[in-house]
Amino acid sequence: MAENREPRGVVEAELDPVEYTLRKRLPHRLPRRPNDIYVNMKTDFKAQLARCQKLLDGGTRGQNACTEIYIHGLGLAINRAINIALQLQAGSFGSLQVAANTSTVELVDELEPETDTREPLTRIRNNSAIHIRVFRVTPK
């Protein structure tokens, strides 16, 4: 960790838009299970909510229904992830429970040089993420 931090300071000192172009890379993610939902800010909120609801409900007769789903939100989408989870819970008449975890995700920014003599650089940036487990409980 420490050795990664060290060049970062150097980078910030010499960072110049004339010499470098910033390119954001995709966040590192784990393989998706069927009950993982990554929330983004581009898709319509209702569509994402419906998707979660569908996963929990399963088919017409309730087959393939997931007992738990995981809603992941990163950065700006944290709000939306929480919103979705709470909406799900509110609409379930108490049969759904939520459990949230937060984490920090390391994001990689690539700095592409504009001149031939410079090496491309990478910066690590941290961003917060939330992972909400929405699961079914048998109502007492």
Partner: protein, 1023 residues
């Protein structure tokens, strides 16, 4: 009789014999008889109106007379006539008279002629259907076409004849060997070898030919698109699974020599303005793949040759500059010839080297001779293969380039610089895997080669190079490290997480050995996905430089690997000899070890959304191993795409497609011409009423993009604007002065001199600082740095052809201007920090002055509905359009008013003239020569609905001013609405941006060539 009826009748009568001519004496007689025929009242009625008027017609109508019985007694006819007269009393009916007498001889003669005609009509088949097809349905039998005896006896003879004819026709097509002989392996191979003489076949050709629509392009036979309906499936494969493409048709040029010599030579062909060049540090070390735009030497920014990607071989001992370096330049076959010639010229490589590559070609040519001899032998006898006895050499499959001429050189050396250029086209296979599952497919399909340990059977194995490598502990440890990195890849879910252009060398075992029994789908393994330090290291820094080493760089090893490949047959036999069927085949030291190179291909790098879309890996293999890797990839669940999928990929990635999106390079111009030709042909094939009338729609050029006209128009437009406002502006005089100065420059000697100057300025861009940028002193500081060499360029620019703007600094500036900057904060944040200029009239003017005829690559996304197609026009919205849009969010755009078709009258006139001529020709055969010569000398045939003659002012032809054209456009499944890519005139773009209100900056209108509806879209320039 109505016109349609007449036509119908003529059609009916078409196949009747026409040789029946009757002497004029009979006409009256026949006419009468005709009417007398009460049995055919309808026909008689139909003919009635003509009787009085035209006699000529009746000669045409002769067939009617055939229907009559020969026995035609006046008495009976009289009766009939009476009857008919009672039935219908026409005025003509009574006017005609019944003949008083009949001359027997002439009457008999005429009847005889009719009879013979009738007989002929009966014997001659009128339609082009087969005999059994003419039978009524109830008389048809199964397999009639096959078995003559199933037909009624009277037709058997004719059917026999027909069948023979059919057989005869077929025989012409078929080969002179029976099916079984043709399927025989050796004959098939010969046939295949013969067929790849003209167009190069990829190694996966047979596989593709069974599943794809094949096209012949750029000297190759390539799969265009799958025959299955799979547009969406292929898109899904790109985004979620894995799409496989055979890119072996890409050409590779190898440059060998001292590093500084190569760099010095190639630096003339590229410019740092367009991005990193061959000398970029990370590329030079061999760690990453680079991409660069090549221009004719010292001609930047004009005379573009094409885009290429390149990889340097990593140095074995870093820092040793005396060492000979190896550089591979990968390029598209359409641009290859130009670039190869230019590189040869730049490196002064003139002396061809006779290489050993010729040997296999000689071999095949000898086989060819052998093959051509075969037909000379007696047909009918069982032919023995000649090669069995004397020619013990087995016939070999063509591997690599089948069209290569053995006498032609494929590598050249320069005596001065020592650089060796060799053309490695088709010496390697290049497969591209796109999509997130490409990692798991790669890790499952490829198994890293096992290290050779036992030394006892070292003599026997053909893979000496691998044994030798394994003796060296250093290379073994390197191999282990490569293996470790490769294993890590399996734990990364998307190739976009890895640094762009990462290279990984590898030596793998034979992928056919662990081919699964059934096609399966490789899924990423969650167990492998551990977020450990090693993965982090890989993501951050990429593959270490040493691990990029691969034996594929070594020609000798590649050759030995290709030659010592176990054939599929042998492999399968060994597999069948296994004691436990279906168990793992262990070849031990006999297993081939194949050196490969993996290159990460970055997906979408620019822009804001969909980052990393379409990223993947390219696999380079030595030739001959194509199918051995292809099938294992497919068995792991890769879907295969063709050229069309490649186009879709580049479109969704918003990157220009080669060669269609390079209008300033010769290959691009050629492509546009060909495209225009095919589109025109396609257009002409439709009837005029069923195709759009482009003249009426106001589309001047529906099949091509007239870039030259566009840029010229804009240049003169802006000039005119400025002249009108010159008096008011303070520095107008100076710009005017320059304007006037410019046109007098283009004299041939001077341009030559100028180009030299430009050359020097490109070499040393900092030198010409004393440019005449006097009119924009206020921003000179930033300006000078922005395009230091532009000052001299612009003089040359004024008189030269168009080019595409690729200077990154300028593009960045433009892209900042394109977006709407309604929020003050955003603008404020951007402006001071990055040294960006504000969009001012002066700034625009100075850019316009420097690049009067430049095009800019833009991406357009539609605001609402509509999906643009190629050649869609990009137009400047008028003020009222923007106003209306701001008032009504659902406003979809203005409509183009109908234009009048100027050419319709001309076409009609031409047609009439032709008709007249035809009639004249028919009348007097003597004037035929004159008539035929006439239309040829006149104007070329006009096509209804197309603009002919020189184009008018393209920009102001329609109600909205034209800005540019779309080159790729479709509904984008990646973003969910229509998206387009195209070029706009730089002058026009700046003019538009500076006049638009900041809140709605960057809005344009799109109109497809066959529509009147304009639709709003937003321009973005992505750098």
């Amino acid at each position: 009789m109505s016109n349609a009826k007449e036509r119908k009748h003529a059609k009916k009568m078409r196949n009747q014999p026409t040789n029946v001519t009757l002497s004029s004496g009979f006409v009256a007689d026949r006419g009468v008889k005709h009417r007398n025929r009460g049995g055919k009242p309808f026909q008689a009625q139909r003919q009635e109106p003509h009787y009085g008027t035209s006699r000529q017609r009746q000669t045409k109508m002769t067939p009617h007379s055939l229907l009559e019985p020969d026995v035609n007694e006046p008495s009976s006819s009289k009766v009939m006539f009476k009857k008919k007269g009672g039935w219908k009393a026409g005025p003509e009916g009574t006017s005609q008279e019944i003949p008083k007498y009949i001359t027997a001889s002439t009457f008999a003669q005429a009847r005889a002629a009719e009879i013979s005609a009738m007989l002929k009509a009966v014997t001659q088949k009128s339609s082009n259907s087969l005999v059994f097809q003419t039978l009524p349905r109830h008389m048809r039998r199964r397999a009639m076409s096959h078995n003559v005896k199933r037909l009624p006896r009277r037709l058997q003879e004719i059917a026999q004849k027909e069948a023979e004819k059919a057989v005869h026709q077929k025989k012409e097509h078929s080969k002179n060997k029976c099916h079984k002989a043709r399927r025989c392996h050796i004959n098939r191979m010969l046939e295949f070898n013969r067929r790849q003489k003209k167009n190069i076949w990829l190694e996966t050709h047979i596989w593709h030919a069974k599943r794809f629509h094949m096209v012949k392009k750029w000297g190759y036979c390539l799969g265009e698109r799958p025959t299955a309906k799979s547009h969406r499936a292929c898109y899904r494969a790109m985004t979620q699974h894995c799409l496989l493409q055979d890119l072996s048709y890409y050409c590779c040029l190898e440059l060998k020599g001292r590093e500084e010599e190569i760099l010095k030579a190639l630096s003339q062909m590229c410019s740092i303005d367009t991005g990193l060049t061959f000398a970029a540090v990370h590329c030079l070390s061999g760690k990453r793949q680079g991409s660069v735009m090549l221009y004719r030497a010292n001609k930047y920014p004009r005379e573009m040759l094409g885009p290429v990607t390149f990889i340097w071989k990593s140095e074995m001992i870093p820092g040793d500059t005396s060492e000979s370096r190896q550089l591979w330049i990968w390029l598209h076959p359409a641009v290859k010839q130009d670039i190869l010639e230019e590189i040869k010229a730049v490196c002064q490589c003139t002396e061809p080297i006779k290489s050993t590559v010729c040997i296999p070609e000689l071999l095949t040519s000898s086989q060819e001779k052998n093959h051509t001899e075969l037909p000379d032998e007696k047909i009918g006898k069982k032919r023995k293969r000649k090669g069995d006895g004397e020619n013990t050499k087995p016939i070999k499959k063509v591997v690599g380039d089948g069209t290569r001429d053995p006498c032609q050189p494929y590598s050249w050396i320069s005596p001065a610089t020592g650089i060796i250029i060799s053309d490695l086209t088709m010496e390697m296979n290049r497969f591209r895997l796109i999509g997130p599952l490409s990692h798991s497919i790669l890790t499952e399909a490829l198994k890293v080669a096992s290290v050779h340990t036992g030394g006892e059977d070292a003599e026997k194995t053909p893979h000496r190079w691998w044994i030798e490598t394994c003796e060296n502990p250093g290379s073994i440890s390197l191999h282990r490290r490569q293996e470790a990195v490769f294993e890590l890849l399996g734990g990364i879910t998307s190739p976009a997480e890895i640094p762009a252009g990462t290279i990984l060398g590898l030596t793998v075992g034979d992928p056919r050995v662990n081919l699964p029994q059934k096609k399966s789908k490789a899924l990423s393994n969650p167990e492998k996905c551990q977020d450990n330090e090693k993965v982090r290291q890989l993501l951050l820094e990429g593959v270490p430089v040493e691990c990029t080493h691969s034996f594929i760089w070594n020609q000798d090893i590649c050759k030995s690997v290709t030659e010592n490949k176990i054939s599929d047959q042998d492999l399968n036999r060994k597999r069948s000899e296994l004691l436990v069927p279906g168990s793992q085949l262990v070849l031990g030291p006999h297993e081939s070890k194949i050196p490969i190179l993996l290159i990460q291909q970055p997906g979408k790098m620019t822009g804001e959304d969909q980052l990393g879309w379409g990223s993947g890996w390219d696999v380079l293999l030595p030739k001959g191993w194509g199918m051995a890797f292809w099938i294992p990839f497919i068995y792991r669940g890769a879907r295969v795409g063709g050229l069309k999928e490649a186009a879709v990929h580049s479109q969704y990635k918003r990157s220009p497609n080669i060669p269609g999106d390079f209008p300033d390079c010769p290959a691009g111009i050629l492509f546009a011409e060909e495209q225009a030709k095919t589109l025109l042909e396609k257009y002409k094939r439709r009837p005029p009423a069923k195709r759009p009338n482009y003249v009426k729609l106001g589309t001047v050029a529906p099949f091509c993009c007239p870039w030259e006209h566009l840029t010229q128009d804009w240049e003169s437009r802006v000039q005119a604007q400025e002249e009108s406002s010159a008096a008011s502006s303070p520095n107008g005089e100076e710009t005017d002065l320059r304007r006037h100065m410019v046109p007098c420059v283009p004299t041939p000697e001077k341009t030559h001199q100028l180009s030299n100057e430009v050359g020097t300025s490109v070499n040393d861009p900092r030198e010409p600082e004393e440019v005449m940028d006097t009119d924009c002193q206020d921003q000179a500081g930033t300006k000078m740095v922005m395009y230091p060499d532009a000052g001299e360029n612009h003089v040359a620019a004024a008189n030269s052809q168009l080019f595409v703007l690729r200077s990154r600094k300028l593009l960045k500036q433009l892209s900042a201007w394109c977006g709407p900057c309604s929020e003050e904060s955003r603008a404020a944040r951007r402006a001071p920090g990055r040294g960006q200029q504000e969009l001012t009239r002066e700034a625009c003017l100075s850019i316009m002055d420097h690049f009067p005829r430049a095009l800019v690559w833009v991406s357009l996304s539609l605001l609402r509905k509509g999906s643009p197609e190629p050649h869609t026009m990009i137009c400047v919205p008028a003020k009222e359009d923007l106003l209306q849009l701001s008032q009504d969010q659902h406003y979809c755009g203005p409509q183009e008013a109908k234009h009048s078709d100027l050419f319709k009258r001309k076409i009609l006139k031409q047609k009439e003239k032709k008709k007249l001529e035809k009639r004249q020709n028919r009348g007097c055969a003597t004037s035929e020569g004159l008539g035929a010569g006439d239309p040829a000398t006149g104007q070329e045939a006009l096509t209804l609905g197309l603009w002919s003659g020189p184009l008018p002012r393209v920009t102001s032809h329609c109600s909205r001013v034209l800005l540019g054209f779309v080159t790729q456009g479709d509904f984008s499944m990646a973003v969910g609405h229509g998206e387009a890519l195209g070029f706009v005139s730089l002058t026009g773009l700046l003019d538009m941006l500076s006049s638009q209100p900041p809140a709605q900056r960057g809005l344009v209108l799109l109109r497809p060539p066959a529509s009147v509806q304009y639709r709003f879209s937003r321009v973005a320039i992505e750098v």
